[in-house]
C-alpha cells in the first residue's frame, strides 16, 4: 500500500467505516464509498476488515470482491477473439451514443477511471484522486510514464484538452449533461504535468464514475476528428488496424502497453480482437455462435440467451443491471401533461406478467422509478400493484370516461420491447387504454426517441442512480430540458433533491434523499419501468477470465485463450 493513499483519509471514509462497524451499511457499500473517495481497493478492503472485525456482524475474512486470482502459469498468450457486434459509423468519440462504438474503441483508447462489474470505480489512467471535504474540488493525479503510440507522454494538458471537447456544446457530447451546472472548462485547472484539478460549482459525488462514461475516452490533442482512421495516437492495449463500417474491424495487440500481465509481460494476452458485423438480424449472430464462427456476441437478448444457454460448447455469464426498457411519456403534450393519465397507464402494468412473458423471468421488478435495486442508493419500495379498475377511475377523473386511445412507438428490433408492448396492450385494455403499436425499425426509433409522444426507449446501465437521473430528468441552466430529457419532465422539488443527493456522501443520508426522489418520480414522474434487465455474456469456453459487466463494457484486456479448452479447435 502506498504512502500517499494512507497519508490522508477522507473524512467520508472514516464515517463509512463507522457505519460498517455498526452494521448499518454493507461491506460492498463501504468499499464503494471508500474507493469513490480515492482509497485504493486493496486499502479499502483492509479498512473494511479493520472495521468489520470488531462487530458481531463480522464479514467473512475472505475478500468477496477481489476476483479469483488465476493461478500463475495457467495463463496462455496468443489467440484471436472474434466478436459478433455491430461496427458503427462514428467520428468523434465524445459523440458516441452506442456502447458498441465504445466497446470497439476502448481497446484503443482509455479512460481516466474504470468501473468494474461490481459497480466499484478504480483509477485507470489516473493513479489516484482526492476529493475535498465538501466534494467541490477534485484532484486527479495522473499515472506517470504512460506513452502514447506516437511517443509522447500522457500529461495533464492532454486531459484538459479532452475536458474542452466534452464541455463544448458544439461537439454535442452526452458527457456535457453529466457536468452541466457543475463544471465549465474554466474550472479545469492544470496544476502540474501530472495533476488536474476540477473546481466544481456544486458538490458532486460521482466524478470518478463520470470519467468512465462510455464516450469519455482520452484522446491526444492531435486528434484528427475521425476515430476510425486508426492514425490517432492512443494509449490503449490494442491499435486499430482495420475499420470497415457495417462490416468488420480489427484491433491488434500493442507490444509496449503500460499494464503488465500475471506473467510480468505487457498485457493483453490475446494477439488480436476482431469485430464482425453480421447485420441487423440476430439470427445470424446466434447461428455463428452455434457453429463456432464467432467466439462471443454482443448483447444476447432473452431469446438468444435461451437458445444458447444449453449449448455444451458455450459458457454463459450473467449479471443484474440498472438497464431497462423505459416506457416514457412526454409531459409537454396532451393528455400526458396530466399526471392522472400517466399514473393510470403505470397502474396498467402487470409487472410479474411482463417479466415472465417478455423476459422469461430473467430480471428484477421495477417501480416506475429510474433507480434500480442493484444501485447502492436504491431505497426499498413496495411493488406497485396491477390495478386496471383504479386506472379506469383515474382516467375518468382526468376527463376520459370512455377510455383513451394512443400510439406507442416501438422499435421492432428489440423483441423484448415488442413483447412488453404487446403485454401492456392487453393489460391496459381493462384499464380503458386502447393502445396502437406504432412499430418501426430500431434506427427509425432512434431518429424520434426524443420526439415521439409515447414510446419505449432502452436505457443502458449506470452504476449509480445519481449518474443517470441528471441525464434525463432535469433542465439545464437556461431552464430547457437537457438534450436527453426525452419526456421534458422537470420537477423543481425533484431537481433540488437530486442536486442534494449528488452532493451527499453518506450512504444512509443519500438513501433517505433517494427515498423522496423515488417517491416523487413514482407519484408524478414521466416514466413507467416494469422490469430491470439481466444481461449475459456468451462465450466459447476456451476464453478464460471473462466477467459479465452490467453495461456490457468489454475490453478483453485480461482474457486469455486456452486452445486445449476450445471445442472447435
Amino acid at each position: 500500500m502506498k504512502e500517499d493513499t494512507t497519508s490522508r483519509i477522507h473524512p467520508g471514509i472514516e464515517q463509512a467505516q463507522t457505519q460498517l462497524q455498526q452494521g448499518r451499511i454493507s461491506r460492498r457499500d463501504f468499499l464503494r464509498v471508500a474507493t469513490l473517495l480515492g482509497a485504493s481497493l486493496p486499502f479499502a478492503s483492509v479498512l473494511a476488515a479493520c472495521g468489520g472485525g470488531t462487530t458481531t456482524t463480522a464479514p467473512p475474512p475472505v475478500d468477496p470482491v477481489a476476483p479469483a486470482e488465476p493461478t500463475l502459469g495457467a495463463i496462455k498468450r496468443g489467440g484471436v477473439l472474434r466478436v459478433g457486434i455491430a461496427v458503427q459509423a462514428v467520428d468523434h468519440p465524445a459523440r458516441f451514443s452506442w456502447t458498441e462504438s465504445a466497446n470497439a474503441f476502448r481497446h484503443v483508447f482509455e479512460y481516466l477511471t474504470e468501473t468494474d462489474e461490481n459497480n466499484i470505480t478504480h483509477p485507470l489512467l489516473l493513479e489516484s484522486w482526492e476529493a475535498s471535504d465538501d466534494l467541490t474540488v477534485w484532484t486527479l493525479n495522473l499515472r506517470q510514464g504512460i506513452k502514447w503510440t506516437n511517443g509522447d507522454e500522457l500529461v495533464a494538458e492532454h486531459v484538459r484538452y479532452n475536458f474542452g471537447e466534452w464541455l463544448n456544446p458544439d461537439v454535442g457530447s452526452s458527457i456535457l449533461g453529466l457536468w452541466e451546472g457543475f463544471l465549465t472548462i474554466d474550472g479545469v485547472e492544470v496544476v502540474d504535468d501530472y495533476t488536474v484539478r476540477l473546481n466544481l460549482s456544486a458538490p458532486k459525488l460521482d466524478v470518478p464514475e463520470n470519467l468512465y462514461h462510455y464516450p469519455a475516452v482520452i484522446m491526444h490533442p492531435s486528434f484528427n476528428g475521425d476515430v476510425k482512421t486508426g492514425t490517432n495516437p492512443s494509449t490503449g492495449p490494442y491499435t486499430l488496424t482495420e475499420y470497415v463500417v457495417d462490416e468488420r474491424a480489427k484491433f491488434t495487440r500493442r507490444e509496449d502497453y503500460w499494464q503488465l500481465g500475471e506473467d510480468g509481460d505487457p498485457l493483453p494476452y490475446l494477439d488480436a480482437v476482431e469485430f464482425i458485423d453480421l447485420g441487423t438480424d440476430r439470427t445470424s449472430y446466434v447461428a455463428a455462435m452455434q457453429t463456432g464462427a464467432i467466439h462471443t456476441m454482443y448483447e444476447p437478448n432473452v431469446e438468444n440467451y435461451l437458445s444458447l444457454r444449453d449449448d455444451p460448447n458455450i459458457v454463459v455469464y450473467s449479471v443484474d443491471t440498472s438497464q431497462a426498457r423505459v416506457l416514457r411519456m412526454r409531459v409537454d403534450q396532451e393528455p400526458w401533461s396530466d399526471n392522472r393519465v400517466r399514473t393510470a397507464l403505470k397502474m396498467c402494468q402487470d409487472r410479474e406478467q411482463i417479466l415472465s412473458v417478455a423476459y422469461n423471468n430473467e430480471g428484477l421488478i421495477g417501480h416506475d422509478v429510474h433507480v434500480s435495486p442493484v444501485q447502492p442508493e436504491f431505497a426499498p419500495m413496495d411493488t406497485p400493484a396491477y390495478d386496471p379498475e383504479g386506472a379506469k377511475a383515474l382516467l375518468a377523473e382526468a376527463g376520459f370516461p370512455d377510455g383513451l386511445s394512443f400510439n406507442l412507438s416501438v422499435g421492432t428490433g428489440w423483441t423484448d420491447v415488442v413483447s412488453y408492448a404487446e403485454t401492456l396492450q392487453q393489460d391496459a385494455q381493462p384499464g380503458g387504454f386502447n393502445i396502437t403499436l406504432d412499430t418501426m425499425p430500431n434506427n427509425a426509433y432512434w431518429d424520434i426517441w426524443t420526439e415521439t409522444t409515447v414510446g419505449i426507449t432502452p436505457w443502458t446501465h449506470r452504476p449509480l442512480a445519481v449518474m443517470l437521473l441528471p441525464l434525463a430528468y432535469i433542465a439545464d441552466e437556461a431552464g430547457n430540458p437537457v438534450p436527453w430529457n426525452e419526456t421534458r419532465w422537470v420537477d423543481e422539488e425533484f431537481s433540488t433533491l437530486l442536486r442534494q443527493a449528488q452532493g451527499t456522501l453518506d450512504i444512509e443520508a443519500r438513501r433517505s434523499i433517494m427515498a423522496d426522489l423515488q417517491r416523487i418520480q413514482n407519484e408524478r414522474g414521466p416514466v413507467a419501468i416494469a422490469v430491470w434487465q439481466r444481461v449475459w455474456e456468451v462465450f466459447n469456453p476456451a476464453f478464460q477470465g471473462v466477467v459479465a459487466h452490467p453495461t456490457l463494457h468489454n475490453q478483453w484486456l485480461r482474457v486469455w485463450y486456452d486452445p486445449d479448452l476450445d471445442p472447435r479447435a
Binding site: 472474434r82 458544439d170 441487423t280 447461428a287 452455434q290
Partner: protein
C-alpha cells in the same frame, strides 16, 4: 437484327433515363427534410441553412439532378479557373477534392475575415501521396469583379467543396466538422459540392460514413454478384433439367415427386427454409458454416464454403418455380401436332426431344429465368440478412434505415441497371430461340 439491337439499346437508354428521374424524384419526395434526417432534430435554423447550402440542397431540383448524374467538378473548375480532382490523404484516411495547380501542387482555401484568402498548398509526390503542406496568404490580384460589381474569388474550401468568397463580406457559417458544429467567420457565400456524377462512376459522399459511396458499393456489389452468380449457375440448369425430365415423364411417380417437392420448397419462404437449413446443416450436423463471417484481411472469395447454405436457401425457393414452368411448357410442347408428326415419321425418341421439343419448350422458362436474375441480385436481401452476408441487398437495407440518401440512390440505380440489362439479354435470347419474332 442490327436494327432490332439498336432499337432495344435506344429503348434501354430511355428506360434508364426515366428510372434515374424516378429514383431522384422519389428521394426528393421522401418525407422529412434531409438536414433533419442526417443531423437530428436538434439543429438550429442557421445550421440547417448552412448544411443545405454546403450540400447544394438549396439549388433547384434540375441543377441537383444534373450534378448527380453528370457531376459538378467541371462547372466548378470553370469558375475556379483550374482543374479540380480527388486525392487520397493517408494521414486522415480520407479522399477529398483539391484544386490541381501547376508544378505538382494542389490547393485549398480558407479565409478568416473575408478579406484575405489563405491558400493551403500540398505537394504531390511522385508515388501519388500527398507531401508536406504550407499556408500562403494570397494577394489582392486574385479577386475578380463579377457582373454585380462584387469582388469574388472561387476556390475549394477545407471541406472539399467549391466555394465563392465575396471580398469584404465577413459573414459566418455553421460548419459540421468532425469535431462538431463550428461557427466560423470569413465564410463563403456560395458553394458547389463536388462530385463526378453517377455516369462517371461517382455517386457522391455518403452522409453517414463520410466516405465515397462507391468505395463501399463496389465490394458489396461484387459479393452479391458472386453469391448470385454461383446460385444462378447451379440453380438454373438444374431446374431446367429436372423440369424437362418431369415434363417427359408427366404423370409418373418421378414427375409427382419433382412437382410436389418443388411446390413445397417454393411455398416455404426463404427466412423459414434458411433457418431450417442452418439448424440441420450448421448446428446439428456441423457440416457448413451457419453465418457468413468474413474476418478482417480475408474476403468471401477465399471461403466459398460459407456460401453453401445461402445458395441452398436460394435454391429451395427458385428451383421449384423454374422447374414447374419448364415442366408445364415441356408437356404442352409434347402434345403438339408437329411432335406427333416427328414421332410418327419414325425419328428416334431422343432426337425428337432434343431437336424439336426442347427448343420450343425452353421459351417460357428462359423469360422467367431472365426475370429472376434481377430477383437474385436485389431480392436476396432476406437471405443476406439471415446469414449476415455483406452484399448489396443488406447495403440497400442499411442505407434506407440510416437515411443515407446518396448511397440509397446509387444502390437503387445499380439494381435498375442490372434489371434493364438482364431484360435486354432475355429479349435477345428469346429472339435466338424463337425465329418467328426475329425480324419484327
Amino acid at each position: 437484327m442490327l436494327k432490332l439491337l439498336l432499337r432495344r439499346f435506344l429503348f434501354l437508354i430511355v428506360t434508364l433515363f426515366a428510372v434515374s428521374v424516378t429514383v431522384f424524384a422519389i428521394s426528393e419526395l421522401a418525407p422529412g427534410d434531409m438536414a433533419t434526417n442526417v443531423l437530428g432534430n436538434t439543429i438550429t435554423p442557421d445550421q440547417r441553412a448552412s448544411f443545405n447550402a454546403q450540400n447544394g440542397l438549396d439549388q433547384p431540383a434540375l441543377t441537383r439532378y444534373r450534378r448527380w448524374m453528370l457531376g459538378s467538378d467541371r462547372e466548378a473548375a470553370q469558375l475556379i479557373g483550374a482543374p479540380v480532382d480527388r486525392f487520397y490523404d493517408t494521414e486522415n484516411n480520407q479522399t477529398n477534392w483539391w484544386v490541381v495547380g501547376s508544378n505538382e501542387t494542389i490547393y485549398r482555401h480558407r479565409s478568416e475575415d473575408g478579406e484575405v484568402i489563405l491558400q493551403l498548398e500540398r505537394a504531390l509526390l511522385p508515388d501519388g501521396k500527398l507531401g508536406p503542406s504550407r499556408i500562403v496568404a494570397l494577394g489582392d490580384e486574385i479577386w475578380v469583379t463579377n457582373d454585380e460589381g462584387e469582388e469574388i474569388f472561387w476556390g475549394v474550401n477545407e471541406d472539399g467543396r467549391a466555394a465563392m468568397w465575396i471580398r469584404g463580406l465577413n459573414q459566418s457559417e455553421e460548419r459540421l466538422t468532425r469535431a462538431g458544429w463550428i461557427s466560423t467567420a470569413g465564410a463563403p457565400s456560395a458553394y458547389i459540392p463536388l462530385q463526378k456524377g453517377l455516369l462517371r462512376g461517382d455517386p457522391g459522399i455518403s452522409l453517414i460514413t463520410r466516405q465515397p459511396v462507391i468505395d463501399t458499393l463496389v465490394p458489396r456489389l461484387l459479393n452479391t454478384l458472386f453469391l448470385a452468380g454461383i446460385a444462378f449457375v447451379i440453380i438454373m440448369p438444374l431446374a431446367l433439367f429436372l423440369g424437362v425430365i418431369a415434363g417427359l415423364y408427366e404423370g409418373r411417380p418421378l414427375d409427382r415427386v419433382l412437382s410436389v417437392g418443388g411446390l413445397v420448397a417454393t411455398a416455404t419462404p426463404e427466412f423459414a427454409s434458411g433457418v431450417f437449413l442452418i439448424v440441420i446443416f450448421a448446428v446439428w450436423l456441423g457440416w457448413f458454416p451457419g453465418a457468413v463471417v468474413i474476418p478482417p484481411g480475408t474476403s468471401i472469395f477465399e471461403q466459398p464454403q460459407m456460401l453453401i447454405l445461402p445458395i441452398m436457401t436460394l435454391m429451395l425457393v427458385e428451383l421449384g418455380y423454374v422447374l414447374r414452368v419448364t415442366r408445364a411448357s415441356m408437356s404442352e410442347v409434347l402434345r403438339t401436332n408437329y411432335i406427333r408428326t416427328a414421332v410418327l415419321k419414325g425419328l428416334p425418341y431422343w432426337q425428337v426431344i432434343w431437336r424439336h421439343a426442347l427448343r420450343n419448350a425452353l421459351l417460357a422458362p428462359i423469360t422467367v429465368i431472365m426475370l429472376h436474375i434481377n430477383w437474385l441480385i436485389g431480392g436476396i436481401v432476406v437471405v443476406e440478412t439471415l446469414f449476415g452476408f455483406p452484399g448489396l441487398g443488406s447495403y440497400v437495407l442499411a442505407s434506407a434505415l440510416n437515411n443515407d440518401v446518396f448511397a440509397l440512390q446509387a444502390a437503387t440505380m445499380i439494381l435498375v441497371v442490372i434489371a434493364v440489362v438482364s431484360q435486354l439479354l432475355a429479349d435477345l435470347i428469346y429472339v435466338y430461340l424463337n425465329p418467328r419474332i426475329r425480324y419484327t
